[in-house]
């Protein structure tokens, strides 16, 4: 057995790969701790994996950590040191929190499972991202890997050529502190959203902005692709993330753009300030798209490849994909369902596997989209009284569950789904989802605002079968795999009614999911054809600020806290009686 771990910087997670190179289990720590974005050492996930699969410590051949910890630490200290004395608070902060950094992975592991630390391997952070993307790719040789994130080991962006699974050569990297990810996060912070959480909101907000506005242009000009030196350049005087422990942008940015947004003031489209913030978001989004396009072109020049693996936190910027895929050098883009740091634990586990199985013709078997093992029978008995007191079980037969749920959806109800194994996140692909009729404005509004309390400017994603998607949206062959995991947006066909769907964004795009046979949403869509419904609005099963529901209790809790009447679970279709 081989284990991969990510943590300490962003969301922590653990992945388990077996002797055959198959991903058999995976948990984000937040699934189990219920702390959104939990980045602490993933002890619960590790314990669960070892207990659930009855693994003896001696059965674990290697355990791989997703970065080289001292490299990250030294790079951030050294970069800060070049800006002393302004950066002294950051250096002091980093040194005092040395024991809480990823360097303590070895000790944390030895405390939890003594002996396991001796099997610890380290790999380059961007390699862990690349291997994650490779695992989900049907092409595992002669492909280019582009990793773009905030910061990992020493670089923030890299291009590598994957000749085969044992020959992955890094050809180019962009050194810290110039960082596309941290640039976007700083603008996220400026706009009053939480860093590492609110980037989606900036992306949604940007659609309302005007690229030709002064603010958009000012933001756009803060980060550039330098074609002469083939690198990303930033005017760091506008940013403080490399010298301050608390502030991501500098006062100079405030002088340039005006006051940052108060995070507690609701961002409403009718307000005067809305356009100002939307323009700033637009500038950031334009900059991201521009640099990514340059990067893909350069990667093609370097590697000669027309097929790309794209990972790292910036790969979650689904709105940029449509334009990137239109580049003449792009034939195919593969993005793993969890391209950020949490997903990097999967690549790390595969690294441990590959290091121990150096064979010709080795191929990583493609992981399922639902790798987090969950069996509700263990909790069914414990939840008995909660269920008796608060819920009626409408049916326990799967066929009937689908049939009744389809009828309820046709009547405008929102249904929660918490069934079988969970997806990797962050996108809900059907097993941990809140769904409703994607063409019913009232139902989508209930889901979006009453239940989820989402910002009104963010649309909900639509899920549908391929033929429906092809009918209403302009699909790109280069991104066809990405549509299965909601990793890319696409444009509506303007001659169809899709432009008026409540799941369509202001710029006539949608972050759709093409549902595959075998998934619960496919069964539901099958049955919904009886009611002439072809599209489901699909959002993750959680309340704003909480992690996605993982087990039965989490699902029941959402239903008890918000007006969610129906939940599909392994226990049956439940109706709240409150």
């Amino acid at each position: 057995m081989y284990i991969g771990i990510s943590g300490y910087n962003h969301e922590s997670a653990v992945a388990l790969v077996d002797e055959h190179g198959t991903l058999v289990d995976y948990y984000r720590e937040e699934f189990l701790s219920r702390v959104k974005g939990d980045k602490s050492f993933p002890k619960r996930s590790l314990k669960r994996i070892i207990q659930l699969h009855n693994i003896e410590i001696n059965q674990i051949k290697s355990i791989a950590f997703y970065e080289r910890p001292l490299s990250s630490f030294l790079t951030s200290i050294r970069t800060a040191a070049l800006n002393m004395p302004r950066s002294l608070p950051l250096i002091s902060h980093q040194c005092r929190n040395f024991d809480k950094s990823s360097i303590s992975c070895y000790l944390d592991l030895s405390r939890l499972f003594p002996g396991l630390e001796k099997k610890l391997l380290y790999l380059d952070h961007h390699l862990s991202h690349t291997l994650t993307a490779l695992a989900y790719s049907d092409i595992q040789s002669d492909i280019c890997s582009i990793v773009v994130d905030g910061f990992g080991d020493r670089s923030t962006t890299s291009i590598a050529k994957v000749n085969n699974l044992y020959d992955i050569k890094e050809l180019w990297c962009c050194d810290y502190p110039s960082s596309l990810g941290l640039f976007y996060s700083s603008i996220t912070d400026f706009l009053g959203f939480e860093v590492n959480e609110g980037e989606y909101k900036v992306m949604g907000l940007s659609s309302f902005g005007n690229s030709n506005s002064l603010n958009a242009k000012n933001v756009f000009n803060l980060i550039k692709w330098n074609n002469q030196f083939k690198t990303i350049t930033m005017d760091m005087s506008y940013f403080d993330y490399h010298i301050s422990p608390t502030q991501s942008y500098s006062n100079k940015l405030v002088e340039l753009l005006g006051p940052p947004r108060n995070p507690f003031v609701p961002l409403v489209r009718e307000d005067n300030d809305f356009q100002y913030y939307a323009d700033i978001a637009k500038g950031a989004q334009d900059a991201i798209v521009n640099i990514l396009c340059q990067l893909f072109n350069y990667a093609h020049t370097l590697t000669g490849s027309r097929r790309f693996l794209f990972s790292g936190g910036v790969a979650m910027n689904s709105a940029s994909l449509d334009e990137i895929s239109s580049l003449s050098c792009v034939d195919k883009i593969i993005i793993p369902p969890s391209p950020g740091d949490a997903g990097a634990s999967i690549g790390s586990a595969y690294f441990a596997y590959l290091k121990n199985n150096h064979r010709q013709n080795t191929k990583l078997s493609r992981p399922t989209f639902f790798p987090s093992n969950y069996d509700s029978t263990s909790q069914q008995h414990l939840a008995k009284q909660i269920l008796t007191d608060n819920f009626i079980t409408l049916t326990t037969e799967f066929v009937e569950i689908i049939s009744i749920s389809a009828k309820l959806i046709s009547k405008g109800e929102v249904i929660g789904i918490s069934i079988n194994n969970a997806e990797t996140g962050p996108r809900a692909l059907g097993n941990r989802s809140l769904v409703c009729d994607g063409t019913n404005k009232d139902a989508v509004n209930t889901l979006n605002t009453l239940i989820k309390n989402r910002s009104p400017f963010r649309p909900t994603a639509p899920s549908m079968k391929y033929h429906t998607a092809n009918k209403y949206y302009v699909l790109r062959n280069e991104l066809i795999e990405c549509y299965k995991t909601m990793s890319a947006t696409c444009k509506c066909r303007m001659d169809t009614e899709s432009i008026n769907f409540p799941t369509t964004h202001i710029d006539h795009t949608a972050r759709l999911q093409i549902v595959e046979d075998g998934q619960i949403l496919f069964s539901l869509l099958d049955k919904l054809e009886d009611y002439n419904i072809q599209i489901l609005a699909n959002s993750s099963f959680n309340l704003s600020g909480d992690p996605t529901s993982f087990d039965l209790f989490d699902a029941l809790m959402v239903s008890m806290r918000k007006p969610l009447k129906y939940i599909i679970t392994n226990v049956g279709l439940l109706q709240s009686i409150l």
Binding site: G37, L74, G192, P259, N262, Q379, Q385, I386, M557, M560
Partner: protein, 230 residues
């Protein structure tokens, strides 16, 4: 009258504490051995989540009227709970015996109710908020009562002295914790020049490192040492 910063701080801390309690109770709900206990913890968790929501809405109401630079310091992040409102070692139910856990709930719910009396004074000008906080105080008393009932039913021999001992112990613990954090802040300020000096030394040394030596460009990443942390 408390100033804005102090008021916002108290409300944020209370919201965080309530959210932390919700997580503790949800964890207890999942780990308990009997369905009725699980149900009790579940309902308790639901109440605590609702309390956190109420305090966060009060926080929003006040924070939207202060400058954005100040308001940003009072954003709630669940991650920040770890180590402060929930132990980094694990949830209480994971690390405590059940009896101790219930005694903890018994005493802390009562202490929480007392601390809400202070918050009630902060928001007394707003009748709607006052009534919500009064409702929360009732909930806390109810939780305290349920824990007491459980304690009396399952551990009757130890009454009432042990409960009193638990209460005194928790009161001392809470006060010590507050004292510790207050003094930690003072100590932090006092030692700041030393920290900065040490940071200067560390920074100066780090400049001497040539990190280019660890540049992996044009190298096969799969062949680099997997034992090296740089």
């Amino acid at each position: 009258m408390k100033d804005d910063a102090s008021k916002l701080n108290i409300i944020l801390e209370t919201a965080s504490a309530e959210y932390g309690s919700a997580l503790e109770m949800l964890s207890a709900c999942k780990l308990s051995e009997k369905a009725p206990y699980s149900c009790g913890y579940f309902n308790h968790a639901k109440d605590e989540y609702n309390h956190a929501d109420i305090f966060m809405s009060i926080l929003s109401k006040y924070a939207m009227n202060v400058s954005s630079s100040k308001a940003r310091n009072y954003r709630f992040t669940a991650r920040s709970l770890i180590g402060k409102y929930v132990s980094a070692k694990g949830y209480l139910y994971e690390i405590m015996k059940q009896k101790d856990f219930i005694a903890y709930v018994y005493t802390n719910e009562l202490l929480a109710k007392k601390s809400f009396e202070g918050i009630l004074k902060l928001v007394k000008s707003d009748s709607q908020q006052s009534s919500l906080i009064l409702q929360i105080m009732e909930d806390e008393l109810r939780h305290h009562g349920l824990a007491k009932k459980h304690f009396l039913k399952h551990y009757p021999r130890m009454q009432p002295l042990q409960l009193m001992a638990y209460r005194i112990r928790e009161t001392i613990n809470n006060r010590t914790r507050k004292f510790y954090f207050q003094n930690l802040r003072i100590l932090d300020k006092l030692l700041a020049p030393l920290y900065i000096f040490m940071a200067y030394i560390a920074g100066t040394i780090s400049i001497l490192f040539n990190l280019r030596e660890f540049d992996h460009t044009n190298k096969n990443l799969m062949e680099l040492s997997s034992k090296s942390i740089v």
